[in-house]
Symmetry: C2
């Protein structure tokens, strides 16, 4: 088949999605054009809108369309507790347990020297400034229990040692080596209660 | 996380892609917004352009931006041979073998009564009209060697029996039960030469 320019461009663009290779991209393009052009149009609009509107909360760094996200501006939440997570997906997993009513700090990544991700890239300076304000009594480190997540937690706890606040880590109820996003909610709830 | 409206809409829209569930859609959305907004913008444009420009060739039904696709309008190709395939991907696989210089008819599907896909949905009426024009000497049935592909080939060969033209099937060099798109090119070339 002499592929059309527009189709080729679509297949190439779909390969920009994580976990999508040539074959998957072709299948997606054919499916959309043959069976669901409506979905393609909806996806195009959603992409455009998200790129335009979604930015980072000025306080916790999570994705939001506002200057300060709804979680950070919720007066009923306890500003004395700050839970540090790697991604919005991890934050979402903790929220769904319904057992945590403090604030969050979303790193939007993890320390990964091999990939060139250093303390600045995950906003540790900003985290330090947040703690320096004096309102935070306790920082709960809820990074993933992977090598990089553990290293990130270690670096943060070292950084916060000087401030004399409580720094806890999710309890080891979470199976080692796993990623928070995929752990069942009961285990996460248990780990929150047993934090050390 | 109180997900933003735009982010939620993007995750939902990504779930419209075949083979993408909730978790994958979330990961894709986070990846695009965090690491590659450029890719998101490119994808949105490619989707919009493809939906607007890509249509079906009036002769062979494959995807094209023209009224008649480049393959069908190529004067060097033999209009006496008509290779019937299920999808543009299958057509592409045959093209890449470099052993076929005739025309194509792309069904854009296969007979599948359980899914409500009948002869009309895969353009068999149009295929019949094409053969009735009298220019086609031979129809090569290159549908997949799956149950549905075999059934489709059988129905087409029955339909064309009255016209007294040669109707062949890709040789059994292609492993039974497999899909053309994933077969190595040598095997496809062999099957083309040995068609029965």
């Amino acid at each position: 088949m002499a592929q059309t320019h527009a189709l080729q461009a679509l297949v190439e663009a779909l390969k920009g999605l994580p976990g999508v290779g040539s074959k998957s991209a072709s299948r997606m393009a054919y499916h959309l054009l043959q069976h669901d052009r409506q979905a393609a149009t909806v996806l195009a609009a959603a992409l455009t809108q998200a790129v335009r509107d979604v930015r980072h909360c000025s306080q916790c760094h999570t994705f939001t369309e506002l200057e300060v996200c709804e979680t950070c501006s919720d007066a009923l939440r306890d500003g004395g507790q700050l839970c540090v997570v790697e991604t919005p997906a991890d934050q979402s997993a903790i929220e769904r347990t319904g057992t945590y009513k403090g604030h969050y700090f979303v790193l939007m990544g993890k320390l990964s020297p091999l990939d060139g991700v250093g303390p600045k890239d995950i906003g540790l300076l900003k985290l330090k400034q947040r703690v320096q304000l004096g309102t935070v009594r306790e920082v709960i480190l809820a990074t993933n229990f992977t090598a990089e997540g553990e290293a990130t937690a270690h670096v943060i706890s070292e950084m916060l040692r000087a401030f004399g606040i409580r720094v806890s880590r999710l309890a080891r109820g979470v199976p080692a080596g796993s990623e928070l996003e995929y752990v069942d909610l009961g285990t996460i709830a248990h780990a929150l209660v047993d934090r050390r």
